[in-house]
Amino acid sequence: MTTRSVTAAALLLALAACRGGDRASNAAGDVGGTVVISTAGEPDFLVQPLILSATGKMIADQLFERLAEIGPKMNAMGDEGFEPRLARHWTWSPDSLSIAFELDPRAHWHDGKPVRAEDVKMGFDLLRDPKVASPQAPNVAEIDSVTVRDSLTAVAWYHRRSLDQFFTAAYNVIPLPAHLLKNVDRANLKADPYVRNPIGSGPFRFVRWVPSQLVELVADTTYFRGRPKLDRVVVSIAPDPNTAVTRLLAGEADFIEVLRGEQLAQAQKDPKLQVTQYGGVDYAFLQFNLRDPKRHARPHPVLGDRNVRVALEMALDRAAIARNVYDTLASVPFGPAPRSLGIADSSIRQIPYDSAHAKRMLDSLGWRDTNGDGVREKNGVPLRFSVMVPGSSRARQRVAVLIQEQLKGVGADVTLDQLEFNALIAKLGSRDFDAVINSWHPDPTPSSIRQTWTSEGARTNDGSNFGSYESPVFDAQIDSAVASHNVSQARALYKRAYQTFVNDAPAIMLYEPNLVAGASRRIRLVDLRPDAWWAGIPRWSIPASERIDRDRIGLRPAAQ
């Protein structure tokens, strides 16, 4: 199967799931209603330069509009498929080192002021200013500056040409109201009143934020691209994923982004609920530390050997593991990138499940159980290592227990370190661990792999290549893919790099969940994008005939 047809199949699936919504969308009487979105965990911030949490990003995307939106094919290379938002038009300079964005003159802030080129510059400057110390700053590192050509034209200037140049400015730089932020104390942006009461340019206005309870948004009826169908979006904050799901099952909430296992089965049986698959970009893996955790200069005594890692991978029935945790709703990844990005596919050769072969391989490598305790040894070193797993993730804990038992079958002794999240992060940062079950939620652009798997991310203490996989071959292949100007050539280079990765087995890819959202049947869901299910919220609707009490509040403000 080719890349394109995989993407197309995923797309068809998503479309099929939301078909009802598309049909109903133009019918009269579907304006109005409230959607309660159940989330686990509090959003951190609602204003882009400060946001790290997914919930914060989801809400900010309703409040703020970007220059252009990534299309349904999720292509982040070049500008193909991007749809105009605040920018109605864009022009590349002849040398491709700058892009001029021409703003839609109808666009305005929720306080009525028009959106101007200086707002684009403000958005970029706050991201870049060291005083703000934005966690998002690396996302715009390729942009040198943003300048104002005239009141409706902003120009982004780049250090060099690259395939995700357009994506970087159009998607990652979110314009912010310069007239409100001109005099803000940037070092204390977090404490500024604007941050608690954001005024945006998007389809929804901010109403209130009650800590640990909810964030309420209401439709902006004057939004320049047409008001959203819903009157109101309430984000209901649960302290943990389990509670978040029970709120949906109890009818107290209308939507949750992910359901799995027993709770999914329950939702499927409930006549008031609908479930929808929409892919996803997360992938989970068992990452090995290739370096000795106590003395980083030396390779890891057990896991430093590529052949041992390959044998361990052969000992794992990854399909059964995915099946146990996610039933049919997860697949084993092809490489260090999810299927939905459209690059990794079945043409990448995998290490098969064959525990008999794994045993023979370990025998021939000199790992034998000489003392009869069920654990192999070599030169007095037992085939033993610990696997860290965060106490906060039930899915990963479950996988850990499955892996432990399967590796025991080939004579490898795994101890489970169920760590509190912060302790785990501290150990990852100091590289003080043997192995960890982790997962990534990558950006739509494949170049984000640099931070997680190349030498660049291994060398600094705070980089995210925690296992110190340093392969000059892999690095070079990624570098040339990132630098390529030709989309199909870039894809081929990425694929070659993924193959190198799979062969070296610095991590065993475990599963990429095919996410399933749960929602009240009365909601017509539109466009649950794999990387951002919330992208279509402004087009979600509730038919008048199916409304319940909370849909009939209308646009009026809360009684105080």
């Binding site: 329950q266 146990n324 106490g391 479950r398 038992e405 302790a423």
Partner: protein, 285 residues
């Protein structure tokens, strides 16, 4: 002189049918824990078929059903008794030892030493134990069984030290200790031979009631996700495994929960009976 009350107490207990029943239940659970490998029908950690045999309801082959990993719940509850009872007994032994020593020293020393020692206890008692444990367990990344026992023991002795200190203070200022000192006995000897044995009766009662408490506490910690480390089975741990499958696999959480309830009720009944027997003024008798 310390033999008298014990003998009467034992005699009273022997006539108390409720106490005997409770003791019987505890013995049964303790035996199950000790003989786990002999009575458990399966290995507690074996995963025979993670796709086909996960979350099976109770049947003849698996009287308590199987869990989400296809493991036999009955075997895990039996092995879980080992961990839950073991952790509780060991940590209570530790906290009673520390509490008795601390309380005895404070009570016998008196004066400023006693005041400072007891103020510290007041402060430590003011922190909810669950929060203190969450805080203390955050110090360790991963919690092995020895660490868990240590932590439960180290956070459980404050109340005991208060009890002991009161008794020791009363006893060491009593005529008997005074006489012993006058006869030339050393402080340590007076404390060890004469004061402590008489101060121990409330400790025994507190320990018995405390075991039930610790079993519940360990289960609660597991519920919060910071208890016994998998794949080890403890009762709290099995409930946690079952909590997410409660709608489709109620048996996973139900049976270990019942085990906790029965055991804790038994320990509390025995503790009540012991207190009544050791303290003849008590209205329960």
């Amino acid at each position: 002189m310390s033999v008298g009350p014990w003998r009467t107490a034992l005699r009273a207990l022997r006539r108390d049918r409720v106490a005997l029943g409770a003791a019987g239940v505890i013995v049964v659970f303790a035996l199950a824990a000790l003989l786990a490998p002999a009575i458990a029908p399966y290995s507690p950690n074996a995963q025979p078929d993670i796709v086909g045999m996960a979350t099976l309801p109770p049947s003849a082959a698996h009287p308590f059903g199987t869990d989400v990993f296809s493991r036999d719940v009955l075997s895990r509850v039996i092995y879980g008794a080992r961990v839950s009872l073991g952790v509780a007994v060991l940590s209570i032994a530790l906290s009673m030892t520390i509490g008795t020593a601390y309380g005895a020293i404070a009570g016998y020393a008196g004066g400023a030493t006693e005041t400072i020692m007891m103020r510290l206890i007041d402060a430590l008692l003011a922190i909810p134990r669950v929060l203190l444990l969450i805080l203390a367990l955050a110090l360790w990344g991963s919690v092995g069984l020895p660490t868990l026992v240590l932590m439960l023991g180290l956070t459980g002795w404050f109340g005991t030290s208060r009890l002991v200190r009161e008794r020791v203070r009363a006893l060491s200022r009593g005529e008997f200790a005074f006489a012993a000192r006058a006869l030339g006995a050393s402080h340590a000897r007076v404390l060890w031979r004469h004061v402590l044995p008489n101060a121990l009766t409330p400790v025994i009662v507190a320990a018995t009631l405390g075991i039930g408490n610790v079993i519940v506490l360990e289960a609660s910690l597991s519920y919060l996700g910071i208890g016994v480390r998998p794949p080890n089975a403890s009762w709290g741990n099995i409930i946690q495994d079952g909590a997410e499958a409660i709608a489709s696999g109620w048996w996973i959480a139900l049976f270990p929960g019942l085990a906790i309830l029965v055991t804790v009720v038994a320990f509390n009944l025995l503790g009540d009976a012991l207190r009544d027997a050791l303290d003849p003024r008590s209205p329960h008798a």
